[in-house]
Symmetry: D2
């Protein structure tokens, strides 16, 4: 089971007391704790995020990702011979591997919890359900490699991943999906990322769960769900003005975050069905989502006695 | 000691073999490993990143952070009554809490390792030392709360944190800085973040290490160093065209990453001197840095026997 | 008197008939017309727009102007040895010398003509009163050099230019303001542009007309009014949450466009009180304004008989 | 013939003499000059620029045009019931109807006049040949409606407009191209603008002059040349890494500006072969080009005696 990590907010110091002696803080906490010891014993990391590059495939509904260098080395040289380069980024937030916050989708004018979507936009920011309200995730992650289960490089465009597919995949992998977990569903479509426009899948549609699969996830109380397509859910070929029932079920009804355009190829190749999932959203006040770079982690040390007997050494 | 996490690259599937059956993958790896067990036993998280808000203090040398909503709920309503909102971001990368990649600073026209800085910019991207080359960090982190050690809310603008300060702080906290660690130095200046322009510190200067402190860090073989100011190192009052010797020592000479504008107030209040440090850079190809949102983590469970005897219960 | 220029819309050709012979067009119209002859006889141009540079003074309420080069010569070289450089711009529209469209300001939730301001924003664009609805201007322009009339380099921050000021200035210059004209009011504050933040005038306030001056302009039926400050109208020192009555009178009530941050120094130095005014807005669909670069033009040839007797040779 | 308009630079007033009396300026110049009289007698305007809309066709090599509203009416309401909306734009400069400055293209590492292209980029700006150096244009314009001459809605993709085409078109229209003129060449491809990607013409190629046509223009000493395609010159079908000889001849060798993606449909429908051409570049310091919105103007009054006998009344 996965505990929700807690985040300790800090109280800003009184700026008018700039140089007065501070009240003594608690004696320093040092020494390695269980987590640090596990880390130091050796951890393998699989990067689940796509690289952000100009020209990468993305939805045309969102501002295009651009990166440029306002300053290059030599533009300005200091008296000691040093110089610097820096960057400018313009981008939509639902671009590359990204997370949808609850402010992203509304149904009948309401956000999750019944908040009025128009009123929720205070001064141009979604104060209540923006991405800044998503706590960093450090949780149990589960991969449901549906394509692997079906013996395909990838499911077909437009294919709806059914509840039967999800359950069979989970059973074969020897995992169960529990409350608070993050579930990643691999359709294999991510293998097409390098094809660019074909990955976006307008004409071909994309595979993914439909309403039923979303309900199945919600019934299990997952914390977030992710997929290796931009759309997360199934889009029919030539989708056009597609309805997105899974977004409605997860974001609006269940309050479950959605992560899109994940790179699950390495995770599937390693065969990890269960792992520690780390996702830290960009803390953009009032935004409807943000680019993310989630990680899957597993200890490299041999496991101890009390784990499931069936596992391969792929992660060691 | 901290091991460098390894990242398993994935091999993209052959796009021309889209629907052919895939080669069988390794049997799924399931079961909880040591890391996951430690996570599930309970972890406390302290967020070390600043929220990204329009108008937050930042260096004027970098494009200003802006967030806006191209689409709000109601702009477009689908046939099922659903609607969506999305975002556009424009920003420099050295804005808010951020990491400097080795491509950021050059000295006498050379980057770390002797690479020619001009030639390194291939087609407008720093292919070799860009932020995309910084592996996600999951390492031992050490806080040197210099302000706390000196009994101040914050060090004065322009104050140089000396080697003696660093060593005394470490000793009092009962920690040593080792190879591969990430060291966070708290001057307390971060408590002034809410003051805006004053935090940027042009007129007042900002506290921080100088060349000597940077050399001390480099001698210890740290992986990265961070501070709670935009500049990381000391800037004299009215700094103007400041030289940045610590940047030269760390980035150019030692190949050590720098993290700036951290929020260390919560970490200091909790008294954590040692923790698991997590930092996942944005994987922006060829960029000189990226916004980051690092975390400090400690198990909430009571520690086991073999750790240092002095610790407080602040994290439990 | 000034006629409203008419713009001939074009009817897009039928794309399906791409290569079919076109219907014959009217016989070509050639030969020099009166306008062209006047142009070819010699025209002096005074540029009324500010250069767009990173770091130029602008209102902090609008996205900061940034220009950068994604591509520089040498980044990519073609097989014939040629190369190219290009640009990226990010900017607010009310930045630098710019025009306010009628969509910019609302009063009690209504735009000019009573349109509901919220409903007018269709899919995130102001379809009805956006800057794309402002026809290019080629009109009689009048300069009211109030600072010159008062014998000052510039009026004081917070000074309200009165109706008496406007009328005395016009009389002294030997001009009258008529329906359809564009009136430019010089407070002299534009001479402070190079001072940066001081030009923005937050603490000092800025000079300009108040409600009375705006009413005076509206009564005369001007087409547009401009000034050499960012605010156009008077701002009291330490303005803070200033009300902007002139914006209400002109944009919302009278439907008169406002041009801000003009450079009127050259125009005043040349002593032109009357001239041809050219302003071509950027045709940005649905925007609330756009950067502009207006021009003042006068023939360099000696004037013919029927003009006012008092003129100097400054423009010849 | 067309005179080069002169622009009177202004001398910034001494900021330290803010409120001291100014030196008396020349007596005001009032009265209508020949140009203003021609304007007031009636002018018809044809807009030659494309509207800037999100999603409009543009070259993928340049940052995509985006417009959004950071603030909408109601986001912030002042105490008097007024509110405002504003915009953010991000865009490349070679997007929509735009002008290429001489800094845009280099050949063998050199810009026009032999300037070293790398050295010309000072601190990330092209100080010498940037778009800020292009004076506003008020000149004789000539339309060479090649498609009209050939009796086609548009020339085929990949068709090279020959010198013979240019000369025959000019002769039929009864115009000659002279030194200092601006020549607009209509291939008719602009009629495909609404088709989006097809207008960009990657696969189909686009029609336009080749090297020979560019040389012909240079020999006549034109000031600028424009076309109704993004590329201005001919691109072969499936162009890929096309060489652009006309850009080299015009920009690098002859110092002649290029205007691209013009809308010439209205101009051709009106049959204007000769007109006053107005183009005011955005004064972006150091940029390689800028969006523009050129105009074609002709007096609506009957022409006077000394013009060419053949003209139709389309413009009256």
């Amino acid at each position: 089971m996965s505990d929700t990590p807690t985040t300790t907010p800090h109280t800003p110091a009184d700026p008018t007391a700039a140089s007065t002696p501070a009240t003594p803080v608690a004696a320093p906490v040092a020494g390695a704790d269980d987590l640090l010891r596990a880390v130091q014993a050796g951890v393998e990391t699989i990067d689940l995020g796509r690289q952000l590059r100009v020209g990468m495939p993305q939805s045309p509904n969102h501002p295009q990702f651009w990166h440029t260098l306002p300053r290059r080395h030599g533009d300005m040289v200091r008296s000691d011979g040093s110089s610097a380069a820096n960057d400018m980024i313009t981008t939509g937030t639902h671009v590359g591997t990204h997370i949808d916050a609850l402010a992203h989708v509304s149904f009948d004018g309401k956000l999750h919890g019944g908040a009025d979507a128009a009123a929720a936009c205070i001064g141009g920011k979604y104060e209540e359900h923006g991405v800044h309200t998503i706590a960093p995730m450090l949780r149990r992650g589960v991969l449901l490699d549906v394509a692997g289960h079906l013996g395909l490089t990838h499911c077909e465009g437009g294919y709806e991943i059914t509840v039967a597919d999800l359950e069979a995949t989970a059973e074969r992998a020897g995992v169960t999906v529990g409350a608070g977990d993050v579930v990643l569903i691999r359709s294999g479509w991510g293998a097409r990322f390098a094809e660019g426009a074909a990955y976006v899948g307008g004409a071909s549609g994309v595979p993914g769960v439909g309403e039923a699969g979303a309900v199945w996830l919600a019934e299990r109380g997952v914390h977030a769900a992710g997929a290796d397509t931009i759309a997360f859910e199934r889009l029919a070929p030539g989708g056009g003005h597609a309805l997105l029932p899974a977004h409605r079920v997860l974001l609006v009804e269940a309050g479950i975050y959605i992560v899109e355009a994940l790179d699950l190829e390495g995770l599937a190749a390693a065969g990890w069905a269960e792992f520690t999932f780390v996702l830290v959203p960009m803390n953009i006040f009032g935004a409807t989502g943000s680019p993310v770079r989630p990680l899957a982690l597993r200890s490299t040390q041999p496991q101890s006695q009390d784990q499931a007997p069936t596992q391969s050494g792929a992660a060691s």
